[in-house]
């Protein structure tokens, strides 16, 4: 990985801040710094997009199938206490 400094931030600093950026936990100044870096660094833009897409897919995962039997057995077990 070839590190660059863009908008006063190195790529490794942006890598470190990606989750906080995504979770909306960066102060406005730090957030603006990340956005300025990404706007001028195609490596971080590409990776940031992939990282964000993965987290989005994770957050939208549907519930696993096959819970009906488990729910019935749970009720039976609690009912027999």
């Amino acid at each position: 990985m070839e590190e660059r400094e863009v908008a006063g931030l190195r790529c490794s600093a942006v890598l470190e801040l990606l989750s906080d950026y995504l979770d909306g936990e960066l102060a406005p100044e730090a957030r603006a710094g990340v956005e300025a870096h990404v706007a001028g660094c195609n490596v971080c833009e590409r990776f940031g997009a992939r990282f964000a897409a993965a987290v989005q897919t994770l957050r939208k995962l549907p519930a696993p199938a096959g819970q009906e039997g488990a729910a019935d057995r749970l009720k039976a077990r609690l009912g027999s206490r």
Binding site: S19, A70, L74
Partner: protein
């Protein structure tokens, strides 16, 4: 369910009201089962964890404090049950690794693979990638990203300071992206 409603529900559970117990189960059994299944990776084990979680929650309902959500409280119990079960099976400590090397494994600095998967395929790939992670990585992703607990609730469920939880979450997300990348690279259909 608001925090006030959760508190009222638990008060009715403590009072021994059967309808309240049913409501508790119906509201949260799905989340507890999904969490247990993804953390333990085994349906039978997930059922055991789900049952033990609710048994424990009903026994200890009076200890619920409304500072956190009911879901967070139940998932904290489920996590404890799951880890106890997993410890009996195997221990998989996470190797310390620099953030940069995690990033490189996740494709930081590499080209972007063409994304040709539909939503269902992406979800299946995500489930496979989750299954490849260590339990500590998996549990932080399950609590924070899938179950949607707040940062503070996730930290409390894991027994970690907030900063340590955030560090673990970031590393787990990078390992997840690395696992997805490995999955894509090895795709027999040559989508990489």
């Amino acid at each position: 369910m608001s925090r006030e409603e959760e508190q009222r529900l638990i008060a009715r559970v403590v009072a021994g009201e059967p309808a309240a117990t049913r409501e508790l189960l119906e509201s949260y059994q799905g989340a507890v089962y999904a969490f247990a299944l993804r953390l333990a990776g085994d349906a039978a084990l997930a059922e055991d964890i789900q049952q033990e979680t609710f048994l424990s929650a009903l026994r200890g309902a009076s200890s619920f404090r409304a500072e956190g959500s009911l879901k967070g409280w139940l998932l904290t119990i489920a996590r404890r049950e799951a880890l106890a079960q997993l410890r009996r099976r195997h221990d998989t400590p996470t190797e310390p690794e620099s953030l940069e090397s995690l990033g490189v494994s996740a494709g930081w600095g590499a080209g972007s693979p063409e994304d040709t998967m539909d939503e269902r395929e992406q979800q299946q790939q995500m489930e496979r990638a989750l299954g490849l992670l260590s339990p500590p990585d998996r549990e932080v992703l399950l609590l924070r990203d899938i179950e949607g607990l707040s940062g503070e609730e996730t930290a409390a469920a894991l027994g970690l300071p907030l900063a340590a939880m955030k560090s673990r979450l970031h590393r787990a997300r990078l390992r997840l992206v690395a696992a997805l990348r490995g999955d894509t690279t090895e795709d027999p259909h040559g989508r990489a």
